[in-house]
Symmetry: C2
Subunit: 226 residues, 2 copies
DNA sequence: GTCTATAGCAGGATAGAC
DNA sequence: GTCTATCCTGCTATAGAC
């Protein structure tokens, strides 16, 4: 049976491999459309303020299809939140290998500044801040989900940074006592203020590249001992 | 008319001045009881999960009395949140005057460590973390309230710390370029990690005094340049 | 001013036709 | 598997007796 004419909910249909035997195209497309709609709505409005009916109509399906695909609202929410943390994993991997080609202590300063800019730019994005707010909002109701998010997201990135610092220490490029603690110091010197403000100033202005550069340079300067 | 026997909701009645003509004692007592119950329930469960009926029964009054006293649920919530920030004001004032008797640079290190311990102890308390979580949870629904909380709470304390640092610089006890930025650096070096973890690990273990002391000492050490 | 009772409504979840 | 129609619970807010 062909798609009804006039429907423009087929954006993600191409993800489905051609000619797959199980999981017909239409089903995968609808599941993906529901996930996209739910992600958008949860991030913008929160868990409670988003109704399953709203998710269904935004995705262009009926409410019952949402329940068929995801069971109930809570499972839909969990799948959305943990799905988004996959991007944090990719970011942590990118950080970990970002100084492989550094071979002299002289280049450390510039390399750290570049890393700081990337790190800060990622964290201050409205999407990341909205996700943090969303998870914190439901931390009382779903404590295990909040803990899982923290492990896969912020803690994973911090650990990658700690590994990177330990590697730099081993290669004689950086001198710190405890690389793990140094990573934490560096991260919050860099991110603490914007993360704090970002939680309370909803839809506030995103820092300009110039502001990000200045903040990153300042954090590196303080971290390396003024 | 005397208080009914067996009622133990009169804890805050003494706040009412004796013999006040307007605002009879009973009314003030009930209003305070409602405020206490609402504070407790909002902090523990959040805004949406707390019903006005629950507030009424916890306070020992009827639902209608809650509406008579506070108008509606939203106004009750706003009054609770902004009321709690009064304690932040007191804390900021205490910080500001905490180094008035310091007169030699040699004592700076110890004085900063003491300040750091008090600051950290206050911020990691379950009440403060719960309040942060509560305000962030409703930041999308009540953006102006979240901004007001931030101004009266965290930002006010940061500003007081900046003033203190500026004063220390003026008296030749501390050398930093920009006292405001230095205050921010110091604060997030000290608080960043526990604040971040505290948002996601609900009902997690409160740091012991020994852990707080170690964190405070470390932050001061890094801040003063290792 | 306070209580009991209730209106009015929204949202999660399901039943049954196709 | 999907859609339409519906049930039922729980919540905010109000009306009316005292």
């Amino acid at each position: 049976m062909p798609e009804p004419a006039g429907a423009d909910d087929g954006l993600l249909v191409r993800i489905t491999p051609r000619g797959a035997d199980r999981a017909p195209r239409a089903a995968e497309g609808k599941r993906a459309a529901i996930a996209r709609a739910a992600t958008e709505l949860f991030l913008a409005q929160g868990y409670q303020a988003t109704s399953t009916e709203q998710v269904a109509s935004t995705a262009g399906v009926s409410k019952q299809t949402v329940y068929n695909q995801f069971g109930d609202k809570e499972r839909l929410f969990r799948e959305i939140v943990l799905g988004v943390t996959a991007t944090a994993e990719a970011f942590a991997d990118a950080l970990a290998g970002s100084m492989d080609d550094l071979d002299s202590p002289a280049g450390l300063d510039a390399a750290l500044r570049a890393l700081a800019r990337r790190y800060l730019t990622t964290v201050v994005s409205p999407q990341v801040l909205a996700l943090r707010r969303l998870v914190i909002s439901e931390a009382t109701r779903f404590p295990d989900l909040a803990a899982a998010y923290y492990e896969r997201g912020p803690a994973r990135v911090l650990a990658a940074l700690g590994d990177l610092f330990a590697d730099l220490v081993g290669r004689g490029l950086l001198r710190v006592g405890d690389p793990t603690r140094a990573a934490s110091d560096f991260a919050f010197l860099l991110l603490g203020r914007v993360l704090d403000e970002g939680m309370f100033r909803v839809a506030g202005p995103v820092p300009t590249p110039a502001e990000i550069e200045a903040s990153a340079d300042h954090a590196v300067e303080v971290f390396l001992g003024r």
